[in-house]
């Protein structure tokens, strides 16, 4: 019995020692900074050097946590047991969070750098008065192909993917709205359609793509494309920028007939503890130099218009990443379609994944 009690004490002591070590390790990151800012963001979606710079400039300690889907983020914030000061959801999710009363209003007059945002990214339908969100990045949905296996120029439109040539060679992004949306656009419908009939037709068309699909995956797609595991990928522009940097054979196309235009915006959740720091961070990220540095690191397009002049000319003039107005006109922004129809999209996509052979 004595031995047993000693074992328990020893384990507890070891835990205490390690807990001390953990707090020491986290302290050494802080070094006398008094308050912390908790950011909830997508993985690898900010330049770590910028976070360090922010800490230095303002004295706040940044805790950076990641989520892998808008929905996972929503679940964790709605659950209420979390206290994130900044979160970075996509546009349809902002609508949903607003409706669920999870967001705090943002007073843009307190943001001295707000003026740098290009007007085309303001007053969008998901936040018409810019009361709840501030643009962070924007981008498109498109096709990445490898010129070792696919002749350049042979893929320009969504319908090209259905070609028999590409059997078992497409990696599709694991997202119901994007996959269904792609099929809807290829049929000439709106990506926000609520019509049951059109959705069913889109599913039928998507099912026909089944034999060409190699896998339905999310973030891992980058790795596979870089390693030449598959010649074609359907994914977002920023992912494309990243893979193209590591594999020169990869190219990105936004089909001109239309695609998704999306925004990831910064919001302040209701449960935030340190709003002052949140404002400081938003303002910091809107500063043109910082926005440019972040865009260069992450690879997505920045909504801070002035920042473009800090970007290399090659990036700035790349039509695939900063599409001209003529293409932008055809791009569609997702709307929150309410739980019922969203469910319908998800169920149909699940059905597709089940039968995709």
């Amino acid at each position: 019995m004595k031995k047993l009690i000693w074992t328990v004490v020893a384990i507890l002591l070891a835990c205490a020692g390690m807990a001390y070590e953990v707090s020491r390790l986290q302290q050494s990151d802080i070094q006398g900074k008094n308050k912390s800012l908790i950011i909830y963001n997508w993985g690898d979606y900010v330049d770590p050097d910028l976070l360090k710079k922010f800490e230095k400039e303002t004295g706040y300690h940044v805790i950076y946590e990641t989520f892998d889907s808008n929905e996972a983020m929503y679940t964790k914030i709605k659950q209420g047991g979390t206290a994130y000061d900044i979160a970075i959801p996509s546009e349809y999710m902002i609508m949903k969070m607003k409706r669920a009363n999870l967001l705090d209003k943002i007073d843009t007059s307190k943001l001295s750098n707000f003026k740098y945002i290009s007007s085309s990214f303001l007053h969008r339908s998901f936040d018409p008065n810019n009361e709840y969100s501030v643009p962070y990045f924007w981008g498109t949905l498109g096709i990445i192909y490898n010129d070792k296996y696919v002749k350049p120029g042979s893929i320009k439109h969504w319908n090209d993917l259905w070609s028999k040539k590409y059997r078992h060679s497409i990696l599709l992004v694991d997202s119901a709205r994007d996959a269904m949306g792609m099929s809807l656009v290829s049929l000439g419908y709106s990506m926000n359609t609520t019509s049951n009939l059109k959705l069913k037709l889109a599913l039928t068309k998507l099912n026909a793509l089944g034999p060409n699909i190699k896998a339905v995956i999310s973030d891992e797609m980058k790795m596979y494309l870089v390693q030449n595991e598959a010649p074609i990928g359907v994914t977002w522009s920023g992912e494309a920028a990243e893979v193209m940097e590591s594999n020169k054979h990869l190219h990105y196309v936004v089909p001109s007939e239309g695609s998704n235009l999306w925004f990831d915006n910064m919001v302040i959740p209701r449960t935030a503890k340190n709003k002052k720091a949140a404002y400081a961070f938003i303002n910091f990220m809107l500063k043109p130099q910082n926005a440019a540095q972040n865009a260069k690191y992450v690879g997505y397009a920045t909504p801070v218009g002035v920042a473009k002049k800090y970007l290399p000319k090659k990036v700035r003039e790349d039509k695939q990443f900063y599409p001209p107005m003529s293409t932008l006109k055809h791009l569609q922004v997702y709307r929150d379609l309410g739980p019922k129809i969203t469910q319908n999209y998800n169920d149909l996509f699940l059905e597709f994944k089940m039968y995709a052979r």
Binding site: L4, V22, Q79, G81, Q227
Partner: protein, 270 residues
């Protein structure tokens, strides 16, 4: 007869090779200067250096160990008490009901455990952090401890207890001097299994973790989605060597101490 022996040996070697190929693959690439596990570039220790400087990862690793130790310790205490209580239940029906309830978590898939705990914490308004993860780990470790301790209690020689009582031992003395030593191997293997469960868990933690707390498996999941980072390979090499050393030490102690420790081992393998 001889051929059969050779075949048996070859077959076992084959199984072992299969079991270890992915692990050695990870270790091999932890020394590659490249960025992924695609092609070995040239030898480097750079990934180990980054690992040593990565305070966040080390903190998460320590957190994982703390979580495993604390949860298995508490689960062992609750589970042992539960097993003793169950062994004392006289009605067969009650006993079976208790055991059935005990086994529910044993056989439930992780996804359901994780989801139901998430629902549960939400209903009670418990925040998602270290506390919620610790509670969940304790919760799914208790039944295995009960299952490890119970057989020992059933095998226990009750005349010993009567004898101790006749010799004037009080309740506490009977408990600490007779009962505990008799069931100690069961308790030890229960603790050990609980530790393994906790260290190995991904699905449950994935559901119930939140704000500022992450375990190694969740961190690996979120990191590796960005493409495999060889720093993770370095970490798994360190863990593997660490476990290997522990096992070897354990083995030598157990062969020295002989029977008692081997009892624990046998219990574990069950």
């Amino acid at each position: 007869m001889k051929n059969r022996k050779i075949f048996a040996r070859l077959y076992l070697y084959f199984i072992l090779i299969i079991l270890y190929v992915p692990i050695f693959y990870l270790i091999y690439f932890s020394f590659s200067s490249g960025k992924n596990m695609n092609k070995f570039q040239h030898f480097t220790l750079a990934h180990y250096q980054t690992l040593l400087q990565d305070n966040r990862l080390i903190a998460i690793f320590l957190n994982t160990v703390i979580l495993a130790l604390l949860s298995s310790l508490i689960a062992t205490i609750i589970g042992t008490m539960g097993a003793i209580a169950i062994s004392r239940v006289r009605s067969k029906k009650h006993k079976q009901t208790l055991l059935a309830l005990n086994n529910v978590l044993m056989v439930s898939p992780d996804v359901i455990i994780g989801a139901s705990f998430l629902v549960f914490f939400t209903a009670l308004g418990i925040g998602l952090n270290f506390g919620s993860v610790l509670l969940s780990h304790i919760a799914f470790s208790v039944p295995i401890v009960v299952l490890m301790v119970l057989p020992r209690l059933n095998e226990m020689d009750y005349s010993l207890i009567d004898a101790a009582r006749d010799l004037g031992a009080n309740n506490y003395q009977v408990f600490s001097n007779v009962m505990i030593p008799a069931i100690l191997p069961g308790i030890a293997s229960g603790l050990f299994m609980a530790l393994t469960y906790s260290l190995d868990d991904f699905a449950v933690t994935f559901f119930v973790t939140g704000n500022g707390f992450s375990t190694l498996s969740v961190e690996i999941y979120s990191r590796a989605r960005q493409g495999i980072d060889l720093e993770i390979n370095a970490l798994s090499t360190v863990i593997f060597v660490f476990v290997l050393v522990l096992v070897l030490i354990y083995y030598f102690i157990s062969t020295k101490r002989g029977k008692k420790a081997r009892g624990i081992m046998r219990e574990l393998i069950k």
